[in-house]
């Protein structure tokens, strides 16, 4: 059984004018440890794909299994628990909480867990160290650069040690140099075995993925794997 399994998944948005089909009959599998890029033009269904995989958006038909869990058979509260235990989100435009410092933002997913406060702080410190942002723990997001905010967002996604990282346009608001630094960071995480699914329309970073999907009009138009990367990983 693959780690992620989409079973003829469809999503239709009902609007006043007409029903919009965001995804139609998508069936695919993603195995553990892969770094998958999901690309496609705007309106191709990328965001919906990620929202459904993230347990945030109910599909119209079909099922999603992550680690054999049928996501949408769970209650909404159980799905929140699932997100907390299985997922790390890296949002477009970082989505840091403006009134919390870097380290507090990182500790956010731990806030509802009953772990001693000191331990939470240590966990947050160690992931911030991993993303290279140790000296600026107590700065508010507004005092950090775009690249630094992105690192905080990645640290927040990692702090729970989730099996799956979902990233939505993480380089969308970064310059080219910083984009590559961030992609290197993701690549390193992936090399350590982290499964990552990333939505992007940035063609330049395509080379970092070991598999990429191109969505068009709600269907998978292209699904290709980078043989060399897969071989390197297998080796």
């Amino acid at each position: 059984m693959p780690f992620i399994n989409f079973n003829s998944l469809s999503k239709t948005y009902n609007s006043d004018a007409a029903d919009v089909t965001a995804l139609s009959e998508v069936t695919l599998q993603i195995s553990e440890g892969s770094f998958v890029g999901v690309m496609g033009p705007s309106g191709s269904g990328k965001s919906t794909f990620l929202s459904i995989l993230g347990g945030l958006c109910h599909p119209t038909a079909g099922q999603v299994f992550v680690d054999d869990i049928d996501l949408y058979s769970l209650s909404s509260e159980k799905r929140a628990d699932f997100r907390r235990e299985y997922l790390g989100f890296v949002f477009q435009s970082f989505n840091l909480i403006p009134y919390l410092t870097a380290i507090e933002n990182v500790m956010l997913p731990l806030a509802v867990k009953s772990i001693p406060v000191d331990e939470k702080r240590d966990m947050a410190k160690s992931v911030l160290q991993r993303v290279g942002l140790e000296p600026r723990l107590d700065h508010l997001p507004s005092q950090l650069s775009g690249g630094e905010q992105e690192r905080v967002a990645i640290a927040r996604a990692l702090v729970n040690a989730p099996p799956l990282i979902l990233a939505d346009e993480p380089t969308g608001s970064l310059d080219t140099g910083t984009s590559h630094e961030i992609m290197e960071l993701f690549a390193n995480l992936n090399n350590e075995g982290q499964t990552i699914v990333m939505v992007t329309h940035n063609q330049e970073i395509r080379t970092y993925f070991d598999r990429y999907l191109i969505l068009r009009d709600g269907s998978v138009a292209e699904d290709s794997e980078d043989e060399n990367k897969l071989l390197a990983k297998a080796g």
Partner: protein, 385 residues
């Protein structure tokens, strides 16, 4: 970091937003506290004034005859014969359960005396209490302060040609008119008023009194109860309440209290609306933030707890500051409302109630916004900006 710390950080680092929230509720609480403590202070002020304004319980000797007198017109003889009241018994009045509601006991002895060629009614009174109780008496000259002095009613003064400083002979004793009682339009105009001890001696009624007026009023006990209590300790006399006086006073106090409570309720409602609207606005403003929390795996109950924790802290602060502000406002306003020096008490019950009220209103007003927040679809919330 715990869930509650997120709420605290939010309040601490967005001070102006928190100040606005606190202010909305604070104004409501402060107004209610002001109105309640103001009405409390004024009620007791009015009550105090009324208690000292004339009597409302009358103690008279038991008599088998009906009185043939009304409004100063007397048909037939006045029956002052009966068994007089023993002055020593009056101390028993202070043993009744409601004794602390008795403002004054004013005993009187009545009897006819010869002054020159005229027969005049002499009333012996406990001078200090009587002149205190009859606030409407206006005396030109001085009130009675010792046994040799008299105050005479207007009609008596005219008839006998008396003025302050005049000398009068009663039963062979010389007295000095210290003051003339200005016209009252009542039987008082026909009296000569002297001290109780002197009158008892002159009238030969040692140790007895003819009637007693009692001034008593309390907000929370019916005067009829006190009448019954006095009848129990003084079984051989007639005790009756002057119902008209009692009812009017109670009615005035009740109306004042109802009025201030109604205003307080309206103000509180407005305060609750302010909190509701502000909280609702704050939730809308935080849609995206709530979406992030939900995406990171916060349950709906966690989001509600977060928002209600904030409301709790805000309400607690507003309750405390509102109470202090309300008491301050009362202290500032009270000199304009009454000429008396009214003491505004720091009432811990009112303080506690203000806190509870603020908590209840604040949390109730934020409950719906918190529920709305927890119901937000995370994807919608994340797309909001």
């Amino acid at each position: 970091m715990k869930l509650e710390s997120i709420a605290i950080y939010n309040l601490r680092r967005r001070k102006s937003r928190m100040a606005f929230l606190v202010l909305g509720l604070l104004i409501g609480v402060a107004t209610v506290v002001t109105l309640i403590s103001l009405s409390g202070a004024l009620t007791s002020d009015i009550q105090h004034k009324m208690e000292n304004y004339g009597a409302n319980i009358l103690i008279t000797p038991q008599s088998d005859n009906l009185s043939l007198s009304y409004g100063g017109i007397t048909l037939g003889g006045v029956t002052v014969d009966a068994k007089d009241i023993q002055q020593a018994d009056l101390a028993k009045i202070m043993t009744i359960p409601n004794s602390r509601n008795i403002a004054a006991i004013a005993p009187k002895v009545l009897g006819a005396v010869e002054v020159g060629s005229e027969r005049v009614l002499l009333m012996g009174v406990d001078t200090e209490k009587e002149f205190h109780l009859k606030r409407w008496w206006s005396i030109s000259g001085e009130p009675v302060t010792d046994d040799s002095q008299l105050v005479v009613g207007q009609s008596v003064a005219e008839k006998l040609g008396l003025a302050p400083g005049s000398k009068v002979q009663i039963s062979g004793e010389a007295f000095f008119v210290s003051g003339i009682l200005a016209k009252t339009g009542s039987q008082d105009d026909q009296l000569i008023i002297g001290s109780l001890a002197m009158s008892q001696r002159v009238l030969g009624k040692h140790g007895t009194v003819s009637m007693v007026e009692v001034a008593a009023l309390c907000a929370d006990c019916p005067v009829t109860d006190m009448v019954n209590q006095i009848s129990t300790v003084l079984p051989n006399v007639d005790v009756s309440a002057i119902q008209q006086v009692v009812k009017t006073r109670m009615h005035a106090l009740d109306q004042f209290r109802t009025f201030s409570l109604a205003i307080a309720a309206v103000v509180l409602l407005i305060g609750a609306l302010v909190v509701f609207v502000t909280m609702m606005g704050s939730v809308n403003e935080r849609t995206r933030e709530i979406g992030i929390f939900r995406a990171l795996g916060f349950r709906r109950s966690h989001v509600m707890r977060l928002i209600l924790t904030e409301s709790f802290v805000v309400s607690l602060l507003a309750g405390l500051l509102g109470y202090l502000a309300g008491m301050g406002a009362t202290e500032a306003i009270i000199p304009f409302m009454t000429e008396h020096q009214v003491h505004v008490a720091w009432n811990p019950l009112l303080g506690g109630s203000a806190m509870l009220l603020a908590l209840f209103v604040g949390c109730a007003a934020s409950f719906y916004p918190a529920l709305q927040a927890s119901r937000l679809d995370p994807t919608e919330a994340l797309r909001a900006l």
